[in-house]
Amino acid sequence: MAVVTLTINDEMVSAQEGQSLLSVLHEHGIEMPTLCHLEGLSERGGCRLCMVELEGNARLQAACVTPVAEGIVVHTHSERLVKYRMMILELLFSERNHICAVCVMNGHCELQAEAAKIGMDHVRYDYLDPDLPMDASHSRFGLDHNRCILCTRCVRVCDEIEGAHVWDVMGRGANSRVITDLNQAWGTSKSCTSCGKCVQVCPTGALFTKGATVAEMEKQHDFLRWILDGREKNVWAYERNGK
């Protein structure tokens, strides 16, 4: 693979052609807030937290969906970008119900962590307080729409890794909601394998294991790493044959 050279925050770095800008930033230890991105899943480019400035490009670009290119000059933490990230987080907090003190994920939540890292300590916008239900019909897991930030990691992991495609999104705009099957109760889903991958990749307390109480829920997505490593080493016969 060809190597390209680019400038990130006034420093020259090299990267492999075809890599995403976000992965290069991570490799060089540059702290980038992300919510919809998760290594091992396809990129969505929806949370807009990893926006960067590219010199010579009037538009900001999301680093997760921008491939590196020779000679690009990237700025990741300009005053404007930090301000926008703060505003986007405020918008996310205002959208549904994110009261950390009563959340199963308190202390382990990615949304909470990003807000703490950036120093977002209050929300200047109206809380929209939508009237959203919970789905506790599944025997092992629960879904609380109030905590959902619509990152669609659950949708992608179920489709791309588990291959069941139980999850999808219905409605549009602020009325969007993740659904199981064709908006049937999760517990009645015939396609759900109860693998729990969606719960483990969910960044907030929207998906949780039943029985967890405040701050008890911790999530691990290293299984994605194992799957990726397995794929790289070509351990699965069906994937070998597929190629």
Binding site: R59, A62, I88, L91, L92, L150, A174
Partner: protein, 557 residues
């Protein structure tokens, strides 16, 4: 069918039409149908039968004639005489028209729209040349007006490369709104190497008050198909998709029928006009999402997925439908192709301004005397459109602003009435050309209310994929609502401006990136109205209720 057959078909149809002494054209486009056009056409037919004029008079249901607010429209073409256009025709009037023209008396003066009316005089019809003159459901009628000759010429006398060159030379720019040079896009798709390529015509017009694409598809469907076929030949695609908005059933029906007739006659399908070129077109019907007018969302919808945009690059020209290079243009852009090929790029580029060539169709709506569909050369001033073509503002009111580009555009105030209408000038004013919606507002429109209306539209139509657009539009709408209710403070206005810039710069697709435009442009030109609402609790247009108070005032009281 080959080119000779095409010409003989045209001649036969011309002779058949000339055999009638008089043709009565009755508009069967949606606006006229909704104001009673069907009854008028029925009345004409009955009158012709009753008066036993079948051999003399031919009633024709045509496409749009233009002045929609004056419909139902009827045009009478009598041999050796200038056309007479009638407005606001009722079934009774229609019967009288038939009788008078049959007895060759002088025309029914009350309803005649004079032919030197500035509504017609200032227009230049290139794309809508056939609209209102031909029966959109009859292939022969289109062929008699020179239809499919451009396709025949391109297939026999030109190479794909020279077609692209011709389009580049014509200076045609995409009519969907952004104004990307169409020829360059075609050439990009042509250069891509792939086993399959696709053509997509975007007929998912969604701006409130705009109906240019609908009219074109309803009035002259074969023109769009011919443009698509030429594009297919130029870029090497054998399959086209016509994405029609779900709310346009008449357009979809006429296009389906047009595709079937053209395929039966060998003008589409396998071996088009006896050449080696194959081109199939399928209609895809949208399900009512504004965002599907965005090209990546539209392609997702065609492929049967949720209509949500994806980031570009890769551009559709590189990876579009099913990962193959795809040429996607607005239907109006395709409507320009046949005239460019038949008339030549040199002729086409004489119309318009140095950077914006050709004509543009606008749906003139709002507070003007004559609303309707107009086609004007680029570079015409807004003043000419509003006061000559539109006939000025009714009830002696003063012009306040014109909104171009719908919810993605901005307003143009009275001091800029003499700006030429082209891509660059409108952008310099903080608005955009857009797809052609043009809403005229008078003193009674409150600009904050207008901004709120468009923000509500964007909020409802946001797909929900990216955060700034999904939540930002709701928050911006809330602030605008507070301003019109009277409970906003100047700090809210600052927050609104900050949100506008953020949503504009960080949103994923064109919908979010342009959603703040109406707010930004009304703030730019009508800041005094915003401050009047907030600091003086007064709506200059007298539209807003302003019955609430800011919370801070509650506290101090």
């Amino acid at each position: 069918m080959n080119r000779a057959d095409l010409e003989s078909m045209a001649q036969r149809e011309q002779q058949r039409q000339q055999a009638f002494r008089c043709r009565i054209l009755c508009c069967a486009s949606t606006p006229c149908l909704s104001s009673g056009g069907t009854a008028v056409f029925d009345a004409i037919n009955t009158a012709v039968t009753e008066l036993k004029l079948d051999a003399d008079v031919q009633p024709v249901a045509t496409g749009c004639m233009g002045p929609c607010s004056r419909g139902p429209m009827v045009t009478v073409q009598e041999q050796g005489q200038p056309d007479v256009v009638y407005q606001q025709v009722t079934p009774e009037v229609a019967r009288v028209i038939v009788a008078e023209h049959a007895s060759q008396q002088k025309s029914f003066a009350d309803h005649v729209l004079p032919s030197d009316d500035p509504f017609f005089a200032k227009q230049q019809k290139v794309v809508l040349a056939n609209s209102g003159l031909i029966d959109p459901e009859k292939l022969e009628d289109y062929v008699a007006h020179g239809g499919y000759l451009a396709l025949g010429y391109a297939l026999r006398e030109m190479t794909p490369e020279s077609v692209c060159k011709e389009i580049i030379a014509s200076g045609l720019r995409g009519r969907g709104g952004a104004g990307f040079p169409a020829g360059l896009k075609w050439d990009m798709v042509r250069r891509e190497k792939a086993d399959k390529k696709f053509i997509v015509a975007n007929g998912d017009e969604g701006d409130p008050g705009a109906y240019m694409d609908r009219t074109l598809m309803e009035s002259d469907p074969h023109r769009v198909l011919e443009g698509m076929a030429i594009a297919g030949f130029a870029v090497g695609a054998e399959q086209g998709f016509l994405y029609v908005r779900g709310e346009y059933p008449v357009a979809a029906k006429r296009l389906e029928r047009a595709i079937r007739t053209a395929e039966r006659r060998g003008l589409l399908g396998s071996r088009v006009l006896d050449s080696g070129f194959n081109f199939r077109v399928d209609v895809r019907i949208g399900a009512g999402a504004f965002v599907c007018g965005e090209e990546t969302a539209l392609m997702a919808s065609i492929m049967g997925n949720r209509g949500q945009p994806t980031t570009r690059p890769p551009y559709p020209a590189q990876k579009g439908l099913w990962g193959k290079p795809t040429l996607i243009n607005n239907v109006e852009t395709f409507g320009n192709i046949a005239p460019i090929i038949s008339g030549g790029a040199a002729w086409y580029s004489t119309i318009g301004t140095p950077k914006s060539k050709g004509t543009k169709i606008f749906a003139l709506a709002g507070r003007v005397n004559t609303t309707g569909l107009i086609e004007v050369p680029m570079g015409i001033t807004l003043r000419e459109i509003v006061f000559d073509i539109g006939g000025g503002i009714p009830e002696g009111m003063a012009f306040k602003a014109a909104q171009t580009g719908g919810p993605s555009g901005g307003c143009i105030p009275a001091e800029h009435l003499d700006t030429p209408v082209d891509y660059e000038s409108l952008r310099a004013l903080g608005s955009i050309m857009g797809s052609g919606g043009l809403i005229i507002m008078d003193e009674r429109s409150c600009m904050v209310d207008v901004a709120k209306f468009f923000m509500e539209f964007c909020m409802d139509e946001s797909c929900g994929k990216c955060v700034p657009c999904r939540v930002g539009t709701v928050q911006m709408h809330r602030v605008l609502e507070r301003i019109t209710e009277g409970s906003a403070t100047m700090a809210d206005l600052e927050r609104l401006q900050e949100l506008c810039t953020m949503v504009k710069e960080t949103s994923l697709c064109g919908l979010g990136q342009s959603a703040p435009n109406p707010v930004l442009s009304t703030i730019r030109y009508f800041m005094d109205e915003y401050t009047a609402h907030i600091t003086h609790h007064h709506c200059p247009a007298g539209k807003c209720t302003l019955d609430q108070q800011p919370v801070s005032e509650w506290v101090t009281a």
